[in-house]
């Protein structure tokens, strides 16, 4: 069994050790050996480190955790079946990373608008109190510092609020966008 980890362009440099790239049209399906271990915080972080290592050198679409195939041929076939959609999604995230923001106790609409200004794309997720905003922002790599500065500015302007920002992440929330 192999696990499909990410989709990259065929022009991407060779993946780090432990990962293998299977060419599918103009794309690469990046796979790792599947393990039988149960998911723990440690195993999830290990997986994340692999994807981030890959992301350091190229643009990619992360694949849903736990996506497994019997062999290379099966994986290639599944990727080929969605080739056009995947290529379009990869173009959409080219040169960008994802930043996560959770907001507690601040004005959600104004905060979202101020952050979206610096993002190429944005999605909002449902929230549960006390959170008032849970957003993912697709930010150009060279705009990440500006985005972080904007978060700090919004936090300073709204004392008593919490703006919890993490990233940069691989574009998990933008992998199915055109």
């Amino acid at each position: 069994m192999i696990e499909l980890v990410a989709i990259t362009h065929a022009a991407a440099p060779p993946p780090p050790a432990r990962l293998r790239a299977i060419p599918v049209g103009g794309l690469l399906a990046v796979v790792a050996p599947a393990t039988e271990e149960e998911a723990t915080a440690e195993s999830l972080w290990r997986r994340e480190e692999l994807v981030e290592e890959l992301m350091a050198d190229c643009d990619l679409l992360p694949v849903r955790y736990g996506t497994r195939f019997a062999d290379d041929e099966d994986a290639a076939q599944a990727v080929a079946a969605r080739h056009a959609t995947l290529a379009a999604a990869l173009d959409h995230v080219r040169g960008a990373v994802e930043v996560s923001v959770r907001v507690i106790g601040a004005e959600p609409r104004a905060t979202h608008a101020a952050l979206s200004e610096l993002a190429r794309d944005a999605v909002e997720r449902p929230v549960q109190p006390p959170q008032v905003l849970r957003g993912a922002y697709l930010v150009d790599r060279d705009m990440v510092d500006a985005f972080a500065a904007r978060v700090a500015q919004l936090q300073a302007a709204q004392p008593g609020s919490q703006i919890l920002c993490t990233g940069p992440w691989p574009p998990y929330s933008f992998s199915d966008r055109p």
């Binding site: 999830l44 694949v63 849903r64 736990g66 919490q162 691989p170």
Partner: protein, 60 residues
Amino acid sequence: MSTSLAEQDVALIDLVDRLLGGGVVIAGDITLAVADVDLVHVSLRALISSVAKLEEGGLE
């Protein structure tokens, strides 16, 4: 500092959100061990308690 501990908790929750709920869905066997469910529950509890901690201590 309690703030940095809370930040780690938030990062773990964001990671769980993304790995288990994000990324491209491509046909294939999606296998998740039962332990995941516990992990998500633990993570959500961690966020709630982090938030409580932050609110108590303020975030100066």
